[in-house]
């Protein structure tokens, strides 16, 4: 499908005072085809900047990012992005939002509406296709955003803390929905979060960033779909404890934990 490779990627900018800030520093990472990678780290560690670089919305100051060996040059529908903020266009009806990417790619109207309807049904919004976004709840808007990106058949799915603003129950429902869609379509996923539990539930691999650098890269081999029980297994707990310590929450971890 699509292998994403980051080689010595760096991104720096100058603050208004003139100081140079390295938001991302010398990051090298390979995300294999169909892999679900969660990028975790404290606020300001550079994870969103890294995601924007992979999306092509920002050009890297150093290094190279490629998908299947081809260097990326700007945004592309092959790399779909679900944003933390609401990105559903309020001036388009739900169905027009979901079919917008297909319209941009020149898919004829009947076909794109058919595809959009199929994805709206999959995310449980088949009955609101003619609604305006203002008529939908926050959770429904996220479903529309997810359906919009999947309808465009991206080979790489980038997600920037997409469910951070949602309530607990809605967030868990959307995790299950995302996993269902991912299992069906198997895009390569890079999912930014600061939520350790979310990462443990979703990821094949968890990459930890601190101060712009990758400081840990852990493979999560727990069987899918993960449940309350499987996430309480010693292996899962050990991962969680290490991740919490990375996030500066060592006081929550007992002394028996594995060293970083």
């Amino acid at each position: 499908m699509a292998e994403v490779e980051l080689r010595n990627v760096g991104q720096s900018f100058r603050r208004s005072g003139g100081a140079l800030v390295e938001a991302v520093a010398d990051v090298s990472l390979v995300i294999r085809s169909h892999e679900f990678v969660c990028l975790i780290g404290p606020s300001g560690c550079g994870k969103t900047t890294l995601l924007q670089l992979v999306a092509g919305l920002t050009r890297a100051s150093q290094g190279q990012i490629s998908v299947d060996g081809a260097a990326i040059a700007g945004p592309s529908p092959e790399r779909g992005l679900v944003f933390q903020r609401d990105s559903v266009f309020p001036w388009m009806r739900t169905i027009d939002n979901v079919s917008y990417g297909l319209k941009c790619r020149g898919v004829e109207k009947t076909k794109r509406i058919e595809i959009a309807r199929q994805y709206l049904r999959q995310v449980g919004l088949g009955d609101v296709e003619r609604s305006w976004p203002r008529e939908l709840s926050g959770g429904m808007l996220k479903r529309v955003a997810v359906a919009t990106v999947f309808a465009n058949s991206p080979r790489v799915l980038l997600m920037d803390e997409p469910f951070a603003a949602l309530d607990y129950v809605t967030k868990l429902q959307l995790h299950q929905l995302l996993l269902t869609l991912w299992e069906q379509h198997r895009p390569t996923v890079l999912f930014v979060t600061h939520d350790v539990d979310e990462a443990m539930l979703l990821a094949d691999r968890i990459v930890v960033m601190k101060e712009g650098r990758v400081v840990d890269d852990r493979k999560i081999t727990l069987a899918r779909r993960r449940t309350v029980e499987s996430l309480a297994l010693p292996e899962a707990v050990a991962h969680k404890e290490v991740l919490l310590r990375h996030l500066g929450l060592g006081e929550l971890v007992q002394d028996r934990t594995a060293p970083l």
Partner: protein, 272 residues
């Protein structure tokens, strides 16, 4: 669960506005009926209404003053066409320049001083220059109106594009929208509510400005009617001309407001 999709039933005109208008006419009638002011200073509403009906579609009386045989309607048509043409040109130019200035820093640095200077020019003072440059043709009035309208539309379009959440632009780009689609599907549609606000303000000011600019040698128009009738001390016809222009201005505002509300119906608040 979807929030309710009930659309709010809307009247094109606020009933309170109609009550206010009726109160004003009643006050006018009272003042003229009880002779608080002379008929010359304040003609009665019935007399003004009669002047309108007798001179609306054709008027040999107005023709005597070289204002054509089309009556008030013919002169109104001239005034309306100037206002509409100037507004249409200003919308295209103002929106294009406003969007460009919001997105291109260099262009903004170049265009802002020009537009802001244009906005501070006292239009009434510059009006005689338009007469010199364009003569007594309608071009003089249209150019004057464009100078007024385009500055307002430019500033509203610039602010609307600058305030648009950049997430929408980023979302469009990652979905495969090219630069033209980003402009037409994201900037234009997202900025419409604010741009429409600017257009309504420009239109509201344009009626009075057009009537004034016609005083400076236009061949016809409601402003010319007012000028000619004022010279004849025919205050009833002056009021008739002012009232017809006011009714047209209000009708345009209601129609355009309704059209704008429909086009931007996506932003109406749902009843929670």
């Amino acid at each position: 669960m979807a929030r309710t999709s009930l659309s709010v039933a809307r009247l094109p005109v606020d009933p309170l506005g109609i009550i206010g208008l009726l109160a004003l006419v009643a006050l006018w009638w009272g003042l003229s009926q009880f002779h608080f002011l002379s008929r010359l200073a304040l003609p009665p509403p019935a007399g003004v209404a009669a002047a309108i009906t007798q001179n609306f579609f054709s008027s040999s009386y107005l023709a005597n003053y070289h204002l054509g045989y089309g009556g008030l309607a013919g002169n109104l048509a001239y005034t309306i066409s100037n206002v509409v043409v100037a507004l249409a040109v200003s919308c295209v130019v103002g929106v294009a320049l406003g969007f460009a200035s919001a997105r291109v820093e260099l262009f903004r640095a170049f265009a802002d001083p020009i537009m802001l200077t244009a906005g501070t020019i006292p239009i009434l003072v510059t009006a005689p220059f338009f007469l010199i440059w364009f003569g007594t043709s309608r071009s003089a009035q249209i150019a004057l109106l464009i100078l007024f309208d385009v500055t307002i539309v430019y500033l509203f379009a610039q602010r609307a594009a600058a305030n648009l959440d950049p997430t929408y632009v980023a979302a469009g780009r990652t979905l495969g929208a090219g630069p033209m689609r980003i402009v037409s599907d994201v900037y234009l549609k997202g900025a419409l509510p604010e741009v429409f606000g600017g257009i309504r303000i420009a239109l509201a000011g344009a009626w009075g400005l057009e009537a004034f600019s016609e005083l400076l040698g236009a061949p016809k128009g409601i402003g010319r009617v007012i000028q000619a009738m004022a010279a004849e001390m025919d205050s009833q016809m002056v009021f008739a001309a002012i009232m017809t222009l006011a009714v047209v201005a209000v009708a345009f505002d209601v129609a355009i407001g309704g059209a704008f509300d429909f086009i931007t119906r996506w932003r109406r608040r749902a009843r929670l």
